[in-house]
């Protein structure tokens, strides 16, 4: 899911960076209202937690292991705006310290995994759960929100890859950036995320939300927010 440098053309990464900066500015305002003066250490902690969640591996069939992106679980626990900031910070640190994801692709990676994914996951979770806190329904909602948000984010990433031959080719038609068009990029990314990574994301989201619900349900933003709205 982390797009490296060299895959996206400036026509793609510059507008996506612009969108990311705009959404970040809105998120900072929103979160400041919600967590007041505590916002800086709180978001620092949320970002570190978002980074750490990506480290936890789950065994998957075939003897290998997989980890979650974590955006879905972070958005359910911290709320979509805080999750947006937290996952963005985690992705920026990953790009600059660990070389995961390119520097020119920071805007695109943040847009896919820190803007699109948390909001999709959060609203799917709320839509399925509504006001119930029944464990089986909450677990199901968490699984579906993790699964669908990751699969959709992967397809979005694939579309960004797939449009490169259309919008940024040499005059002789040679690809200058990602060489795979939509008919290759979308199925390739969709299949592996539908049958493997989406399931891992769903399971991790479900087990973590389930554990929080059993132990301290007041920590889950999605429920705090729905209680406020009631």
């Amino acid at each position: 899911m982390h797009i490296p440098d060299g895959y996206l053309s400036p026509q793609t990464y510059i507008p996506l960076f612009g969108v990311f900066v705009t959404v970040t500015a809105v998120a900072i305002k929103k979160v400041k209202k919600e967590v007041s003066a505590r916002n800086i250490p709180y978001l620092g902690m949320a970002a570190a937690f978002a980074f750490i969640v990506m480290m936890f591996n789950l065994p998957i069939p075939g003897g290998t292991t997989g980890h979650a992106v974590g955006s879905a679980v972070i958005s359910i626990i911290f709320g979509p705006w805080a999750a947006m900031l937290a996952v963005s910070v985690a992705l920026i640190i990953q790009a600059f310290i660990f070389g995961d994801g390119g520097i020119t692709a920071i805007g695109a990676n943040c847009f896919n995994m820190a803007v699109f994914m948390p909001f999709t996951a959060y609203y799917i979770f709320r839509l399925i759960c509504r006001n119930t806190k029944r464990i089986s329904k909450v677990s199901f909602a968490a699984f579906i929100s993790g699964y669908i948000s990751l699969v959709m984010a992967a397809i979005l990433t694939a579309v960004e890859f797939g449009i490169q031959p259309l919008i940024a080719s040499a005059p002789d038609g040679k690809a200058l950036y990602c060489p795979y068009n939509l008919s290759i990029a979308v199925p390739a990314m969709a299949i592996e995320h539908i049958f493997l990574f989406g399931i891992v994301e769903g399971i991790i989201t479900a087990i973590v939300v389930n554990f929080f619900l059993k132990t301290e349900p007041t920590l889950i933003y999605a429920f705090r927010n729905s209680d406020k709205n009631e």
């Binding site: 490296p4 505590r38 750490i52 065994p59 390119g102 520097i103 200058l176 060489p179 991790i204």
Partner: protein
């Protein structure tokens, strides 16, 4: 002779009972998590150690490094000639030598990343299935072309000249971007590098969040390492799926609670030092003549590459 082993050690535990009925699952997920946390801690240590060296590149102001990084990464992204990319590769290598880093170790990591993302992933693009053109190396010939939905597989499948040019250009671009990022990362302290984003107009609040998150990551990675290492020492053989889910969710919850405690302590420490909700990061030391000379050289190099 009387058996002196305490009775509680002779009784089969619940875990053993569960293990007996368990499906075969290895404990590699624990090792992988341990490896991830250890890598995070190690990367932060190595980065901090390299950045503290007193060599030419390390002494350059983080502001200049940030501007140079963005400027050169954009040039690497825009330039589509092999010759220009190769010259950039040589230029970055020369900068690595000036930084007196362990070239072998750093380039091992750079080539690994470039090999995966710049070669393995894009290699199929060198075939005529993806990039049409004159086949210079035929791999396989089938009886007749195959048509399936929107896909067509030609009769002769092989590497094309255009395809190899595409793959080599992407490989060079990724190699250059990764090596440039690594050069800056390994020669600059992360907190001062983050502070330098002020010149791009990034709000202090956002920079402070990144700085705090960076420190928390270090502390929490150590915590994962310790808890997983303890867990790994206690477990052997196989383990049930349900138990794995419980273990992972429990550890994530524990990390969450621990991070909440750290966040609360940080907040109270900040309040006791006069924090009222607004952050103002102190500006860094002034630019020197060496910084300006470096900036001029980088800008001139970039212009030369563009007009090459």
């Amino acid at each position: 002779m009387e058996n002196k082993i305490p009775s509680y050690l002779l009784q089969p535990g619940n875990d053993q009972h569960e293990l007996a009925n368990a499906k075969v699952i290895r404990l590699s997920f624990l090792d992988k998590t341990l490896m991830n946390s250890a890598t995070a801690v190690k990367s932060i240590y190595v980065q901090a150690e390299n950045a503290s060296k007193e060599n030419f590149i390390q002494k350059i102001s983080p502001h200049i490094k940030l501007i140079s990084l963005i400027y050169l990464v954009l040039i690497i992204s825009f330039v589509s000639h092999h010759k220009a990319q190769i010259i950039i590769t040589i230029f970055i290598f020369a900068l690595f030598i000036m930084a007196r880093l362990n070239i072998f170790k750093v380039y091992k990591k750079i080539f690994f990343l470039a090999f995966i993302f710049g070669f393995i992933v894009v290699l199929p693009a060198s075939l005529n299935i993806i990039t049409p053109g004159k086949i210079i190396f035929n791999i396989i010939t089938i009886n007749k072309p195959l048509h399936f939905w929107i896909y067509t597989i030609p009769q002769n499948i092989g590497f094309t000249e255009n395809g190899l040019k595409v793959v080599s250009l992407i490989f060079l671009r990724i190699l250059n971007s990764v090596s440039l990022a690594m050069l800056i990362i390994f020669t600059t302290s992360f907190p001062s590098f983050i502070k330098s984003f002020k010149i791009l107009g990034v709000p202090d609040t956002f920079l402070m969040i990144i700085s705090l998150a960076y420190k928390y990551i270090f502390i929490l990675s150590r915590t994962i390492e310790e808890t997983y290492f303890a867990l790994r020492s206690r477990l052997s053989g196989n383990i049930k799926n349900s138990k794995i889910r419980e273990l992972i969710s429990g550890r994530i919850f524990f990390i969450f609670k621990k991070s909440m405690i750290i966040y609360e302590s940080t907040y109270y420490a900040m309040v006791s030092r006069g924090y009222q909700g607004k952050v103002l990061l102190h500006s860094q030391k002034k630019l020197t003549a060496m910084d300006f000379v470096t900036l001029i050289i980088i800008v001139a190099f970039g212009v030369w590459i563009i007009y090459l």
